[in-house]
Amino acid sequence: MLSTRVIPCLDVHNGRTVKGINFLDLVDTGDPIEQAKIYNNLGADEICFLDISATLEQRKTIYNVVSKVAEHCFIPLTVGGGVNSNLDFDILLKSGADKVSINSAAVKDPSLIKKASDKFGSQCVVLAIDAYKDKNSSSGYSVSVHGGKKKTGIDALKWAVKGVEYGAGEILLTSMNSDGTKSGYDIKLTKLISESVSVPIIASGGAGKPLDMVSVVLQGKASAVLAASIFHFGICTIEEVKKEMKKNGINVRKTW
């Protein structure tokens, strides 16, 4: 049986890890390489890096981070943030990333998804969607870009379907309304997208306790759950999350 993946996410800024509340107030929590090794040992099924550096120059630090982590952690690594060309995909994959996520640049130019999946295979193209509640949108959700700072009004459901048609192999779906709140994932959003596309959905934004993971898998039909704060700040461990999931009948990779 396939296990539901538990994925800690490291937000990296200029080569250091941060976790912001609603993507704004940045708090430094340390060295991404050491953190990744710790998560690997603690049973992470995959590790996600999101580079939120502002400039191209600062962004180069992520290559070194990915390359160092890949030397020690033999689990899948997903890297995103500021990706806007096949060259970015190429450098990140060569640094040791297994999957690369693309967000704002794909909204601006959807053909980037197709170019990347044609060249590198859709298995390594993750479409990251930052969705916010929007009454004017037919699905009730729209897509924001630039770390949630810019609302586009583009329907999130239509965008997800289109992204998969263009070759995305997975969707990393973040609820901007839930992100940083620790009040649970947006189950309605996750279910809506998951039931409309054939590829796996990673639910993100809002995890506050292990039961939140259970709900978004059982009700939201997520294939994987991603969280940052609750793991970084020790609110719960990956093992506690997996045990809660297992208790509720969800298949997990036993790492304890």
Binding site: N40, F74, I75, G169, P200, S223
Partner: protein, 216 residues
């Protein structure tokens, strides 16, 4: 000993390199790892790993495009009978042909063909996502040293939309289940293929890699 990771333009070469390097270090094996598609390197190797990410057709084309590469690889496998390990698409290429984006002939080392996972509609019926992505178990069909210290708890990382439909069940060392049972480890004498990514399967993957190096 020389271990060659065949570099034919497929992705994830570095992951395989990193993982093998760690396995060798952990087991105090002083092997040399070469990442290359140079024919002279094929001829002096003791082990060859064929990684594979991407489509069957692309990978096969890249392998065939290098003059002499396939001849030398077949000499390594069939005349010298040295250990060969195919990973993911590298495993699928062992088949007679693949049906990803049209029919492409494979290496034909193990009888069978590569088909889409949802060929019988089982996955859609159960609303299972494609690709099959994530950690899954192995059901061992035949005892093999490859599975030394591998137990039921061990899971392996899979990422694929196609599977190797193997003709002869004797060539299927282990199977996995996703909407249907499919071969996850295939074997014919010195030829081994794994559908999962041992280089991305944490300790479980490291165990399979060292077992391969120690026993083949």
């Amino acid at each position: 000993m020389i271990l060659l990771i065949l570099d034919y333009g497929s992705g994830n070469i570095k992951s395989v390199y990193n993982s093998i390097k760690q396995v060798l270090k952990d087991n105090n094996l002083n092997y040399k790892i070469i990442v290359s598609n140079n024919i002279s390197n094929i001829n002096k190797s003791d082990y060859i790993i064929l990684p594979g990410v991407g489509s069957f057709g692309n990978c096969m084309e890249n392998l065939s495009n290098k003059p002499g590469l396939l001849d030398n690889l077949e000499e390594f496998v069939f005349i010298k009978k040295k250990p060969f390990l195919g990973i993911c698409v590298g495993m699928q290429l062992i088949a007679e042909y693949g049906l990803e984006n049209g029919k492409t002939n494979g290496l034909g080392w193990i009888e069978g063909r590569v088909k889409h996972l949802d060929i019988q509609g089982n996955l859609s019926k159960e609303k299972l996502k494609i690709p099959h992505m994530g950690w899954n178990n192995l059901k061992v069909n035949y005892k093999n040293k490859l599975f030394d210290k591998v137990n039921e708890q061990d899971q392996f990382y899979f990422l694929h939309s196609y599977f190797f439909e193997v003709e002869n069940i004797r060539n299927i060392l282990a199977s996995s289940y996703y909407g249907m049972s499919f071969p996850s480890v295939v074997c014919k004498e010195n030829i081994i293929g794994v559908q999962f990514h041992p280089e991305k399967s944490g300790n479980s993957g490291q165990k399979v890699l060292i077992n391969w190096l120690n026993n083949y």
